[in-house]
């Protein structure tokens, strides 16, 4: 860290013009772990202050979405659900999708939404998007518990669902979604410091992307010629695997999952590098 030419006691910190591209300083993030957890806790506590139902909203949101999907796509449009109970089918899809969507949209506002904070004090900037992942993970866990309750209820009533060993993959699937959401999110966030347009794109882009992911339909219902396109979407194998694990119907292939995993690693690394580069001077352009 210190320059060679200076006297023995090393400098603790050297501030230079822009660092090199691959100098991402993840150690600073680790040192800021208390801060990360406080951000998580702040997000959790502050959102539902002065609401009557409080954290119950975490359950109401997915329930209403699932009900709407069940009626619109299941009853009205009569889309295939791979022979699964429509309610569970849509619930699994929205559960997974909403975690990814929340990670992506919220981390994409990292720079734009924290100008006042970032302009006044330095801390590991990545602490903000990482805390977003974790606080959404709490939401996800609550909704996941609700989903499990429904799975138990449906199987007690003898519905044709077959949870299997793939459920053990759930943590990996969640990790992949978090990585993808974070990676895309911080890339967008870095670019929006200069181009505001992208923040508009994210809002409806995520909505559109949901239709390019088998959330409201199974992969098996997609015509052969579109299937390659669908599988190019790194979220596709994640959603399908999750549904297969808990409900027992869907298309699961290890190469597809590996593809998603590698995709996640690439996006996440690229995101981290770009983010670390932009964070040094974004205050001048934002």
């Amino acid at each position: 860290m210190a320059d060679g030419q200076i006297e023995p006691p090393a400098w603790d910190l050297v501030i230079r013009p822009r660092r090199r591209w691959f100098d991402v300083r993840l150690r600073e993030l680790w040192q800021a772990r208390d801060l990360v957890m406080l951000f998580v806790w702040r997000d959790f506590v502050s959102v539902y202050k002065q609401t009557i139902l409080g954290p119950l909203w975490y359950l109401i949101q997915p329930l209403l979405t699932t009900l709407t999907f069940t009626i619109v796509f299941g009853q009205v449009a009569k889309l295939s659900t791979d022979g699964l109970p429509p309610f569970l089918f849509y619930m699994a899809g929205t559960l997974i999708w909403s975690y990814f969507a929340a990670c992506l949209t919220k981390t994409s506002a990292t720079f734009g939404g924290n100008v006042a904070l970032f302009g006044k004090v330095y801390f590991a900037r990545l602490a903000v998007p990482v805390s977003v992942l974790i606080s959404n993970l709490v939401t996800f866990a609550i909704q996941f518990a609700l989903f499990l309750a429904f799975v138990a209820y449906f199987s007690a009533r003898g519905a044709a669902i077959h949870p299997n060993a793939w459920v053990l993959m759930t943590p990996v699937l969640v990790l992949m979604m978090a990585g993808l959401g974070l990676g895309f999110g911080i890339i967008v966030s870095s670019l929006t410091t200069k181009y505001r347009d992208l923040s508009f794109l994210v809002t409806f882009g995520v909505q559109l992307l949901m239709f390019a992911t088998p959330v409201i339909y199974p992969v098996s219902a997609v015509p052969e010629r579109f299937r390659g396109l669908l599988l190019a979407n790194p979220m596709t194998p994640i959603v399908e695997t999750f549904r297969y694990a808990f409900l027992g119907a869907g298309t699961v292939e290890v190469p597809h999952l590996l593809y998603s995993f590698v995709f996640m690693l690439v996006v996440l690394s690229a995101g981290t590098v770009i983010f670390s580069h932009v964070e040094q001077t974004f205050m001048d352009t934002v």
């Binding site: 320059d3 006691p9 910190l13 013009p17 208390d34 702040r42 502050s46």
Partner: protein, 264 residues
């Protein structure tokens, strides 16, 4: 002599004037398309050449060099636009310099504003933890100093009330109390002492003087000449992005500070 804790070497910061990337992607694409066709830049000012020339930029800092020794309280004064805030921003790592280098020894904390990161919905207690962590304390440290912070802020009664219900005075007192209990080796302070009533300001000044007395190094930017002359052992005068008064640490001592002040 060797006890230098901050070494600033030929530090410069350049800001671009006017449009930065013009804000939207379509504008930049337009400019790029115009350049491809060899047409003039549609975003350029009339009479401006194709290449960005020097007039597009402003140097907020130019070749600033100085050193600070352990235990010094260095005052930085100058008119608006002299580059003081830019210097503090670079030292606190909010933005990177354009050229030059700063070397720092020891833990550094900067206070460019009080109450950074306060969340209006959270209570005073909750905000102490949040703000403390943002300023660089870890949880154990905050826990240890919690009672002291509350006592200093004089808002004991309201500590479990959301800070959005605080009066502005209470808000600022709580915020400063957190900041005052940071224990960095180097503290950078920007005009934050202009908060609270006269009584509380005095208390803040006292707290800073105390910090300096215990071997901490303080960098202090202020327009408050009284505070500067009271606290600082040395003063740097800035003008137009440069240091205009001597900046070597040897000619120090309060008299030197007072002399420069008299010159302002």
């Amino acid at each position: 002599m060797s006890d230098t804790v901050i070494q600033v070497e030929r530090l410069s910061k350049r800001y671009r004037l006017g449009t930065i990337g013009t804000g939207t992607l379509s504008h930049d694409l337009n400019r790029w398309w115009a350049r491809v066709r060899g047409r003039p830049d549609p975003a350029a000012k009339i009479g401006q050449g194709r290449k960005a020339d020097d007039e597009d930029f402003v140097w907020a800092l130019r070749d600033v060099s100085f050193e600070v020794n352990r235990g010094e309280v260095l005052g930085i004064i100058g008119r608006n636009g002299a580059g003081k805030s830019t210097l503090l921003k670079i030292l606190s790592r909010v933005t990177a310099p354009t050229a030059g280098e700063v070397r720092i020894r020891g833990r550094i904390a900067s206070l460019l504003e009080v109450g950074t990161g306060f969340h209006p919905e959270l209570t005073g207690r909750e905000n102490i933890f949040l703000n403390g962590a943002i300023l660089g304390m870890n949880k154990a440290e905050i826990l240890r100093k919690f009672d002291e912070i509350v006592a200093f802020s004089e808002v004991e009664k309201f500590i479990d009330t959301p800070v959005k219900r605080y009066s502005s005075g209470m808000y600022v007192r709580l915020a400063f109390a957190v900041a005052a209990h940071l224990e960095p080796e180097i503290l950078i302070v920007d005009e934050v002492l202009a908060v609270g009533d006269a009584e509380f300001q005095k208390k803040c000044l006292g707290k800073m003087g105390e910090a300096a007395g215990r071997g901490r190094t303080v960098l202090f930017v202020s327009h408050n000449m009284h505070a500067i002359s009271e606290l600082c052992t040395r003063v740097i005068l800035m003008e137009g992005g440069r240091i205009v008064s001597p900046s070597s640490p040897d000619s120090s001592g309060p008299p030197a500070g007072r002399r420069h002040l008299a010159a302002v």
